[in-house]
Amino acid sequence: MMTNQAAGEGAPVRGSRGRHAGPAAAGQPVSVQRAELVGRVRRGLVACRAHPLVTAGGLVVIAMVAFCFLGPALYHTDQTHVFLSQANLSPRAGHPLGTDGDGVDELGRLMKGGQVSLEVGAAAGLLAAVLGSLWGATAGYLGGAVDGAMMRIVDAAIAIPAVVLLLLLVSIYRPSTAMLILVIAGTAWLGTARLVRAEALTLRVREYVQAARVMGSGNARVILRHIAPNALSTIVVNVSFQIANAILLLATVSWLGLGVQFPSVDLGDMIGAATQTISDGYWWQILAPGTAIIVIVVAFTMLGDGLRDGFSADG
């Protein structure tokens, strides 16, 4: 899949031509440089139009990251003190998304909670994808009894629902942020392992893998230098899905009261608190963080889907 891409066929590969043109462009007149730049931007736009899912998903992800991490610099709110006189206000001037049960501004809380959701989600998703890829590549490459044993372990762990396994693990280990990342990754890597194993099964019989073995490469070297990099398109797509999944898992355990602990907060926490008073009809306390989760998860899913389509079209 990735091997053909290097040849630069089909969809434009951004950067490859620009890099060659780099040193020569230095001595050229400004107009040529500008034409070069315009051409590059135009090629970028064409690539964006050819992959609308990647573009839309990517833009939304960037927007959400900017909102959560840069937002607090522009929109100042007090996220540490309780203002009971301001509790449960509906959206109005001064509180565009209303306030929560402690009188804390909901929009500011959304940024703070979104930061944790994105940080933990990205870290756990990435870790899960790396863990699963290594496991799957090893099983698929070695094959035989080792493959059988490794994949039966995956089968067994997948039999236990992720939410249940996650609940069990957070009840055993105190859920600090670092522990949550490890635990979410520890329950989420199984799907990746299956995917990458299937990929490794087809890669292990390729000539370059056999050549590497004949030249005396050890198993570890073949897996890390040949199998994993050539399964990279599968892995990259999977990272995107894993982040979406990790954000959902984190929100679920937080909502169940076993995730991120006070005073830290994530989007699931906010909905959990609002669920306690749902019969009072404070809809903004549920719709605001709920929409934020949906937007983030959908963006990462679209990004993954788009990347997969793009890779399979190019490959």
Partner: protein, 304 residues
């Protein structure tokens, strides 16, 4: 076929043993002497393997442990909560299938047209919606605002009372069904697209079969095979959804029990229930594979 059956059964047994090993490992990790509480104090100095085999022997005799917090055996709690969960999962899965199969089919037949795009967009949104957000939105609208359905699940003591309590059962079932529909419809769409590209579809068209007959007799029937097996494979995800739905709607099923047990560090219950769910999932995936082999002869021949 027999060889395939035997191999698949042996695999399932190995996976089942690994599930018990994982659950036992978690029990050993649990703080507060949870393992000693289950195994008895004399076990503290025994080897891991001996402890595991003792525990496994008890499980095989139907002794899933004892909850000191609730002063009930885990088997009793299971018998009390399992029917509710099965009813919730069964009804919502049937509804999800009934909706997702036609939806996926429509998407595949009208691929790239407006209906496909709209449904794909909806599938994205529902896939990205956490179960509890969906439940909360439904409760806000149908229960808090309009007073059409109850905000809490059925609280009747018996299973008959639960199933007949339509007012209270609607929202939990709807929540779980909507989450599942997104996954099923997506799968059905790709299965139907695969069938549409097959030669038998082309052959049927060449014979002069109308589009309606091609879709109903060839595409639908052939795409149903993978979708029906998908139900067996999605068991863990559906249970995961049920945990959240039961916790949200306060339905005293298995998921709710697990949640309460986790909050109260009642490891006998969490691990006993987890084991039962794991066994259910392994059996589900075994049945899915066997069903696939029975329904689709190509699988039988390929696996020989």
């Amino acid at each position: 076929m027999t060889a395939y059956l035997t191999r698949r059964m042996l695999q399932a047994i190995a996976v089942l043993l690994l599930v018990t090993l994982i659950v036992f490992g978690l029990l050993k990790l649990a703080p507060g002497g949870a393992a000693a509480a289950v195994l008895g104090n004399g076990s503290t100095h025994q080897q891991f393997l001996l402890q595991y085999l003792t525990w496994l022997g008890r499980i095989l005799h139907g002794d899933l442990g004892y909850s000191r917090r609730l002063n009930e055996s885990v088997s009793y709690l299971l018998a009390a909560s399992l029917p509710r969960t099965l009813a919730l999962m069964g009804i919502s899965t049937l509804i999800a299938l009934a909706v997702a199969i036609p939806l996926g089919l429509v998407q595949a037949v009208r691929r790239g047209r407006a209906a496909d795009h709209v449904l794909r967009g909806l599938a994205y949104v529902f896939y990205g919606t956490p179960t509890f957000v969906l439940g909360a939105v439904l409760v806000l609208f149908f229960a808090v605002d309009k007073h059409i359905f109850g905000a809490e699940g059925p609280q009747a003591p018996g299973i008959v009372g639960v199933v007949t309590d339509v007012r209270d059962l609607t929202l939990p079932v709807l929540t779980l069904a909507l989450v599942t529909i997104a996954t099923f419809a997506r799968y059905m769409r790709s299965a139907a697209l695969d069938s549409l590209a097959q030669e038998y579809v082309e052959a049927a068209r060449a014979r002069g079969a109308g589009e309606r007959r091609v879709v109903a007799a060839h595409v639908l029937r052939n795409s149903l095979v993978p979708v029906v097996t998908l139900v067996g494979l999605s068991f863990p995800q559906i249970v995961g959804g049920a945990v959240v739905v039961e916790s949200f709607f306060n339905i005293q099923g298995m998921g709710w029990q697990i949640w309460q047990a986790v909050l109260n560090h009642d490891f006998a219950v969490t691990l006993g229930f987890t084991l039962v769910i794991g066994i259910g999932a392994v059996v589900g995936s075994l049945l899915a594979d066997l069903g696939y082999a029975v329904l689709d002869p190509r699988v039988r021949y390929a696996q020989r």
